[in-house]
């Protein structure tokens, strides 16, 4: 476990005891990552704000939802944000409109210096590793993974957009996730 993960664990312990300063510290550590993710998924500021707000309030109201035995806090919380963002965008039925807007919100890579200003460097290192790991995926696998995760598309929709069989989407998705995990595990072991 990294130092940042240990600090998260301690902050979560204090949060579970009702320590509001711990909650605010977690907000400081993860609000930019959460908002960036929600904005990437929803492509609308209002929806992204709603998703982030929901996720932090859920954390405050039910901190026990995070079980440290099941992984690090960061994974739990950002998955929660992702889940809320996808739920939000689907509920609003704005997926199609969002597609056009998303083209203006493509993630900009190679700006780690600026991102360090936005959030602590403890996330920037892992962020760089994840982006590098993503680049190791074959383009066709990376595409289906990003369309599902960042665009909130279902596998059926991805098959429709790419005009490939849904079975191919499933196979590529699984292969992408497995390769990504292997690449990141390599980073962890290094």
């Amino acid at each position: 476990m990294q130092e940042g993960d240990r600090l998260d664990l301690e902050l979560h312990r204090r949060l579970s005891a009702g320590d509001r300063s711990a909650f605010e510290e977690l907000y400081g550590r993860y609000s930019a990552a959460a908002y960036g993710l929600a904005l990437r998924v929803t492509a609308q500021e209002a929806l992204a704000q709603e998703a982030v707000q929901d996720a932090f309030l859920a954390l405050w109201r039910a901190p026990e939802a995070y079980d440290p035995s099941r992984g690090i806090f960061r994974s739990f919380f950002l998955s929660l944000v992702h889940h809320r963002a996808v739920d939000t965008v689907r509920r609003e039925e704005r997926l199609r409109k969002r597609t056009e807007r998303a083209s203006n919100l493509e993630p900009v890579t190679g700006e780690d210096v600026a991102e360090d200003v936005v959030e602590g460097s403890y996330l920037a290192v892992r962020r760089k590793e994840v982006r590098e790991a993503l680049q190791t995926l074959p383009p066709e696998q990376r595409t289906v993974l990003e369309m599902a995760y960042f665009d909130g598309h279902t596998q059926a929709r991805i098959a429709e957009v790419l005009q490939i069989p849904i079975g191919t989407v499933k196979t590529r998705t699984f292969a992408a996730m497995r390769k990504l995990r292997q690449a990141l595990d390599g980073e962890d072991a290094a």
């Binding site: 109201r61 099941r70 929660l80 599902a148 059926a156 990141l184």
Partner: protein, 242 residues
């Protein structure tokens, strides 16, 4: 890895990405409740995918959240605990069940995992009938968080079955399912199988004697792990006194 397991885990990958719908979604629900809990290989794969999902989030560039987000959160915190109105949404719930009954080909999450549309329609009809019985006592469950959907428990003195109906119920975290508990004097018993809403809908039919219990809880539990028995003041996702 066997071909069956390869296919199962392939399906679970789509589930973790929230990318399934229709039959695939129903199949993933079935696997998560019937197969995964007893399968070490699948549980391990789920755990790895959960970690991957968490990492993938970092590929999006961080963006400072507007100040108003923190202001709203602080306001929300000040409101804790949020108490939902009791009974105020009941009329709307009855109407929504009635609408379900009239829908063709809808699909719901059933405790029995029955996937037959007619069986589901029959259960929805039974809920509607139960709501209209003299003495029926529909009780809205109070959510732990402001954004969770509406759930109502329906039972009554002349009913031998308890129903749980919900709409706009958010899906649990990937790898988790909801568990229903009935309590008496602070002691809780898990009832039925873990369930996952389908399209935000929940429709459970439980053969229990409601008069034996005084509290109902719904908790979110990791699939494949025996749920921890809740305490009266412990964590829960929805609760109500019955």
């Amino acid at each position: 890895m066997s071909q069956d397991h390869e296919r199962t885990i392939e399906l679970l990958a789509g589930y973790m990405l929230l990318a399934l719908e229709g039959e695939d979604s129903a199949e993933a629900d079935r696997l998560l409740s019937e197969h995964v809990p007893a399968c070490l290989e699948c549980r391990s794969a789920l755990a790895e995918m959960r970690a991957t999902m968490g990492d993938l989030a970092l590929a999006a560039p961080p963006v400072p959240a507007p100040d108003l987000v923190l202001a709203r959160i602080r306001h929300g915190i000040a409101d804790v605990p949020v108490r939902r109105r009791r009974g105020a949404g009941l009329v709307a719930l009855v109407a929504s069940v009635a609408a379900l009954v009239g829908m063709a080909g809808f699909s719901l999450s059933l405790g029995s995992r029955a996937r037959d549309a007619e069986a589901q329609r029959g259960t929805a009809l039974a809920v509607l009938n139960a709501m209209q019985q003299p003495g029926a006592d529909p009780v809205p469950l109070e959510p732990s968080t402001e954004s969770t959907g509406a759930l109502v428990e329906i039972s009554g003195p002349d009913l031998e079955t308890m129903y749980l109906y919900g709409s706009d119920v958010p899906a649990p975290q990937p790898g988790n399912a909801y568990q229903l508990w009935l309590g008496s004097g602070g002691s809780f018993t898990p009832v039925g199988q873990p369930f996952v809403p389908e399209g935000g809908l929940v429709l459970l039919e439980l053969t229990v004697d409601p008069s034996l219990y005084d509290e109902i809880l719904i908790t979110e539990e990791p699939i494949g792990v025996a749920p921890s028995v809740p305490t009266p003041d412990g964590g829960h996702t929805w609760r109500a006194s019955i």
